[in-house]
């Protein structure tokens, strides 16, 4: 297995690529087989290595790709994983084929918005981290990976079973705390009738979010949060 060191695009270059797409409204380069970039702006060393043969398959599910990418980038820490320079390099260079397959520009009604949202990671916040075409996959696995479980990606499976669950959990503040996240995903796993219903699971997330607005949920233990979820779950299912 040969490893190659990932580079970062410089901040200047990321800003330039981003600006150029919007200012010129010319996105031809995003339709090409290969993205031609200026080598001098791909900087290293970064100390981050990836298997040269590591590929993501746009035909496969987000769950499968999430696990493959996370396993391939296990050494990444949170600061590196929130760095736009890394993800912009990976979307435009190493995983260009995947990006073109998973987030095709030619099929998009709003190609410029798609490029800016999926190929870049403009703002350092919950929403953009889970919008970038690659960082989302890494973060889904990272926030649900559990070394203590037999299937370490059990909660990743629960999270990614439906897109509305992903949005409901990862784009709300309740999703940022590990204890709340684990409690919610375990509760959904233990209560498949709620998890399977888009309406019930959406309502559960909504009321938990409201509950968390006036109570310090991260202060509580997982068992206590699950008890709250059980009460909320019973009332919405009634």
């Amino acid at each position: 297995m040969s490893k190659q060191e990932i580079k970062f695009f410089s901040t200047f270059y990321v800003d330039k690529l981003y600006r150029d797409v919007a200012a010129t409204e010319n996105y031809d380069s995003y339709l090409d087989k290969e993205f031609v970039y200026e080598e001098k702006y791909a900087k290293g060393p970064t100390g981050i290595f990836i298997d040269s043969n590591l590929k993501l398959n746009p035909q496969r599910s987000d769950l499968e790709n999430s696990i493959v990418l996370y396993e391939g980038l296990r050494g990444l820490n949170e600061v590196q994983a929130s760095d736009e320079r890394l993800w912009a390099y990976l979307t435009h260079v190493h995983f260009w084929d995947y990006m073109q397959g998973r987030w095709p520009i030619e099929d998009s009604k709003k190609p410029i918005s798609r490029i800016r949202e999926r190929y870049f990671l403009r703002n350092l916040n919950l929403e953009s981290i889970t919008r970038n075409g690659l960082s989302r996959l890494w973060w889904y696995a990272h926030i649900t990976f559990d070394d203590n479980k037999k299937n370490k990606y059990e909660l990743t499976e629960t999270l990614l079973q439906r897109q509305d669950l992903v949005v409901g959990i990862t784009e709300r503040a309740i999703g940022t705390n590990k204890k709340i996240r684990i409690s919610l995903l375990e509760y959904l796993r233990e209560n498949p009738s709620i998890a399977a219903s888009e309406n019930l699971s959406r309502e559960l997330i909504k009321v938990l979010n409201l509950y968390g607005g006036v109570k310090m949920l991260p202060f509580l233990e997982i068992s206590e949060i699950k008890k709250i979820l059980s009460d909320l779950g019973s009332s919405i299912a009634a």
Binding site: S82, L124, K215
Partner: protein
């Protein structure tokens, strides 16, 4: 996260006029050695009932730390007004970090009332559960993995780049992490010729950076600038503007940020004259 605009189901010290007496304040110290971030909150509570709750373990001081950039959100509990330092690995936090300070119930209280409640509450008693908020001290903020110098330097705020037109006035693009000063092709190629020469630094600062910064400071006053509030340039300029009251107008403020460019420019130009 915003906590002081919420409607709690019981009176909370520090929220509106729920209480007529008492205060919770926090003195915050944050430092980093590059590997660990050390956070020391010192809680100062002046309210007899809540002090009693802390002393008996009914309530706990809480530091709630949230970094939107790395999805980090944890609470740290203590019974002491001066706790052991909170240590967080530096690789867990990036960019803006918010810390909110609370007193929360660590056990159930059946009939919570206080002589310091606003009289509007009358003799009402409240049922308090574990995790409910008794007091809120407000928010602190710091920037992880950025040195103060890095945040202050003009290169952390601004780039210069080439637009795709041969001749046009310079303008600013705010969409990046840094503001980009866009020059026409002709101006940009001339800029490249002189930018490496220290003799022209003052000229570049005065003729390009200074007007750009003034424009950006005016832009900051415009409501539409809030669309960019998550960008590094916005945070740095906003913080500078909020903290520096010495110069109220953008013209003087901008000169202060880039350390008196007019003076530098004249100095360099007059030295050149003297050599001729």
């Amino acid at each position: 996260m915003i906590y002081n605009n919420r409607n709690y189901p019981h009176p909370v010290l520090g929220i509106g006029d729920d209480f007529i007496n008492g205060n919770l304040n926090v003195d915050l110290k944050v430092s980093s050695n590059g590997v660990q971030i050390e956070i020391i909150p010192i809680f100062v509570l002046s309210n007899a009932d809540l002090n009693e709750f802390i002393a008996t373990g009914t309530a706990t001081y809480i530091s709630h730390i949230y970094c939107r950039g790395t999805l980090y959100r944890e609470v740290f509990k203590t019974q002491k007004s001066l706790s052991e330092p909170i240590m967080i690995p530096a690789q867990k936090l990036n960019g803006e970090v918010e810390i909110d300070f609370f007193i929360c119930a660590s056990r159930k209280v059946d009939k919570y009332k206080s002589r310091d409640f606003n009289p509007d509450y009358g003799n009402t008693e409240f049922e308090i559960d574990r995790g409910d908020v008794f007091a809120y001290a407000g928010k602190g903020k710091f920037y992880a993995n950025k040195s103060p110098e890095e945040l202050k330097s003009i290169s952390a705020l601004m780039n210069i780049d080439c637009s795709n037109k041969n001749k046009e006035p310079m303008y600013l693009d705010y969409s990046g992490e840094k503001i980009t000063l866009m020059l026409s092709i002709e101006d940009y190629s001339n800029y490249k010729l002189i930018k490496g020469n220290p003799q022209y630094h003052g000229v570049i600062l005065s003729s390009l950076v200074l007007p750009a910064l003034i424009e950006a400071l005016y832009f900051l006053e415009d409501e539409t600038s809030k669309d960019y509030e998550v960008h590094a340039w916005y945070k740095a300029l906003k913080e500078y503007k909020d903290k520096t009251k010495k110069y109220p107008d953008p013209l003087r403020m901008a000169q202060n940020i880039i350390d008196n460019p007019i003076n530098k420019c004249f100095e360099q130009l007059t030295i050149d004259e003297a050599y001729e």
